[in-house]
């Protein structure tokens, strides 16, 4: 199960090892990385889980890592750990959507709670993505004519109006409509509208 994986990034070997140990004993899958580069090489857009990274590292520090992840389309939530937090870097990290910002001396419970929050958020985001992808797949099965007809249905037109608009028989409209809705796996116009808007980014 990849769901509870934690990517741990820290240039300090002792910290890396000790934190990995504690997290494993707490029930997580942990991949340890001694540098941001190493971590970036082992993940892609499909990876699941969350990232716990040291803020202050040579080469690529935590904040740069967060930017690189954005650039590479890696949407894992990031928790920052620091030996001492400074306000400007905190603000910076939060602005880029850091899940949490903790000092290294916080008790295990606080860190684990932060990880759980991050994983829950990631899980929700993943489900959302998967759902959307499924919808897109269904949408791709529609013929151009079906798409046209369904768009007009969503816009609130009656079958008769659609027929007049497209210059086809009302019976043909009904046919397109029912096969289209079958392909999209929806049974009511209300569900169709919700789905349609979601697919077109109008949630």
């Amino acid at each position: 199960m990849d769901r509870r994986r934690i990517y741990l990034v820290d240039d300090d070997p002792s910290c890396l090892e000790a934190t990995a140990r504690m997290l494993r004993l707490s029930g997580y899958e942990v991949s340890s990385h001694g540098s941001a580069e190493d971590f970036l090489c082992s993940v892609d857009g499909e990876s699941r889980g969350c990232v716990v990274t040291d803020l202050r590292m040579p080469e690529i520090d935590g904040l740069r890592l967060q930017q690189k992840m954005d650039e590479l389309g890696i949407r894992l939530p990031v928790i920052f750990l620091t030996a001492h937090g400074t306000i400007p870097s905190t603000v910076d990290a939060m602005r880029h959507g850091a899940e949490d910002f903790l000092t290294k001396d916080v008790p295990m419970e606080v860190l684990v709670a932060a990880i759980e929050r991050a994983l829950a958020r990631e899980q929700a985001a993943y489900r959302e993505r998967r759902e959307l992808r499924r919808l897109e797949e269904r949408f791709r099965r529609l013929t151009p004519r079906e798409r046209e007809v369904l768009q007009l249905v969503v816009d609130g037109n009656m079958n008769k109006q659609i027929a007049a608009r497209l210059g086809i028989h009302e019976r043909t409209v009904k046919l397109h409509r029912s096969t289209g809705m079958k392909k999209l796996e929806v049974s009511s116009v209300a569900t169709l509208t919700t789905l349609w808007n979601r697919l077109h980014g109008k949630v």
């Binding site: 300090d12 002792s14 910290c15 090892e17 000790a18 934190t19 140990r21 504690m22 004993l25 707490s26 202050r56 750990l81 620091t82 030996a83 001492h84 000092t103 290294k104 001396d105 008790p107 295990m108």
Partner: protein, 487 residues
């Protein structure tokens, strides 16, 4: 040897020597283009002098015409030289006027040249003679002017305007010293170029029967310019010395500022360096705790305990490295005078002081005996105290008074301010490390200050005077008199 030979060859020799000298200096300092133009001017004067000398001895009009062309060339050279000199020494002079003057004279020179070439085949007539300086020399009888003479005169006029304009610019933009320069230069150049031009004009138009005498008036002009150049160089050298001294002072100050921020850096580095092993120890301890409830964790527990030990050693190493850093600097011992020391500290803090509108009053008698110690460390103490006082002020401004006097115990300093004062809850721990009322800062400034003062055999304490503000007292033993005078 005749007088004319003596005077003219001396002039030529002087000019050529100076040309060589200026070129030699310029070769080594290429950026000083004024030297090159001065050499050009001098070469022009030498050329004119040579032409004049030859004219006195030229027997026929043919040779005279040839020499005239040369004279025109040398005048151009002198003009270009003077324009360049003024441009590169003072950055003055209108380029338009200079171009006009030189352009007109160049056109006139070309016309004269063309005229001479046209008449090259003609017959040469002998030239009359006059007595001059005890000998008989040839001269050119009037009217011997080319039909284009007015071009030359207008060119000359533009050149006067150029000089006049340059001098006026210098006078107007001037500090007193530059005005004096402008006067010397202006008077010199104007008078002598005017003299040379009028003399030539009178001779050319037959009003005066004399050989040409342009080079002689020009010689003083050139001398004035050379003196100016030398004076400027001397001044440059002096100002260079001043900037050097300034730089040394600045670097010293930077060094001081470094020491001040060093503490800040140190504390942040300390937190990071200690934070890493302490964080690892915490995680390992937590892991061990989780392991306790599970069977078969013995081996891992052993590993964890080893790691905890290792990280603990690492933290201790960080601490001993820090201590080494503080201890490594052996304390200097030499006589230190408080007044200059305090002044320097105030200068260092000047920016913050004026930003907050805080006045510092130094009531330190200049005859106060020296105390013995390390000036850099003592400055650190004053810097900490003044910095604290400054931070205790709000933005409405305030005052800090630093007094020093000899008392029975030694030299006593009192630092008083009208800020918020020391909060009652930290009065007792004020000189202990990590005791602070500030949001930022580690609270080690006063602890370090106390360490330094005590290392000097002194004491520091907080006065019990009623507020507002705080009063700090410092007492230092007097330096040994003899050592002080020897130091």
């Amino acid at each position: 040897m005749s007088w004319t030979t003596a005077i003219w060859s001396a002039t030529i020799a002087t000019c050529l020597t100076l040309v060589v000298i200026h070129l030699a200096i310029w070769y080594r300092q290429r950026q000083r283009k004024a030297l090159l133009y001065m050499a050009l001017t001098l070469a022009g004067v030498a050329g004119i002098a040579l032409v004049e000398f030859l004219l006195m001895r030229a027997g026929d009009s043919h040779t005279a015409r040839l020499l005239f062309n040369w004279a025109n060339l040398w005048v151009l050279v002198i003009m270009v030289g003077l324009v360049g000199f003024l441009r590169f020494t003072y950055g003055i002079g209108s380029p338009t006027l200079a171009a006009g003057a030189i352009g007109l004279r160049a056109v006139a020179a070309l016309l004269v040249l063309a005229d001479a070439l046209g008449r090259a085949g003609g017959t040469a007539s002998p030239l009359p003679t006059i007595p001059f300086l005890g000998e008989t020399v040839h001269f050119i009888p009037a009217p011997q002017v080319a039909s284009t003479w007015y071009l030359n005169e207008v060119g000359n006029f533009l050149f006067f305007l150029f000089i006049l304009h340059a001098i006026l610019t210098m006078w107007r933009g001037g500090r007193p010293k530059e005005r004096a320069s402008a006067l010397r230069l202006g008077a010199g150049i104007l008078f002598f170029t005017l003299a040379a031009a009028s003399l030539s004009f009178l001779i050319n138009h037959g009003i005066l029967q004399s050989p040409y005498l342009v080079s002689l008036p020009f010689l003083p002009v050139v001398m004035v310019l050379i003196l100016e150049l030398a004076r400027q160089q001397a001044e440059d050298a002096r100002s260079k010395e001043i900037t050097l001294a300034e730089m040394v002072r600045l670097r010293h100050r930077l060094h001081q500022a470094d020491r001040v921020s060093l503490l800040g850096h140190l504390s942040s580095a300390l937190v990071h360096e200690l934070g890493q092993p302490l964080g690892a120890i915490l995680r390992n301890a937590e892991a061990a705790e989780l392991l306790l409830d599970r069977p078969g964790g013995q081996e891992q527990l052993r590993q964890i305990i080893q790691d905890i030990r290792r990280d603990d050693r690492r933290a201790m190493e960080v601490i001993s490295r820090m201590r080494e850093l503080f201890d490594r600097r052996t304390m200097e011992r030499r006589p230190v005078h408080l007044l200059p020391l305090a002044r320097e500290v105030v200068t260092l803090l000047q920016l913050e002081l004026s930003r907050k509108g805080v006045e510092v009053e130094l009531r330190i008698p200049s005859q106060l005996p020296a105390l013995e110690g390390d000036p850099v460390l003592l400055q650190q103490v004053l810097l900490n105290l003044l910095g604290n006082a400054l931070e205790a002020m709000d933005d409405r401004g305030g005052w800090i008074r630093l007094e020093a006097a000899v008392t029975s115990g030694g030299i006593e300093m009192t630092l008083r301010d009208n800020g918020r004062g020391v909060p009652p809850d930290i009065r007792d721990c004020l000189f202990d490390p990590f005791c602070t009322s500030k949001k930022s800062g580690m609270g080690i400034g006063l602890a370090i200050s106390r360490t330094i003062v005590e290392a000097h055999g002194g004491r520091i304490w907080l006065g019990r005077e009623a507020g507002p503000g705080a009063t700090f007292h410092l007492l230092f033993p007097l330096a040994d008199r003899e050592e002080a005078t020897h130091g």
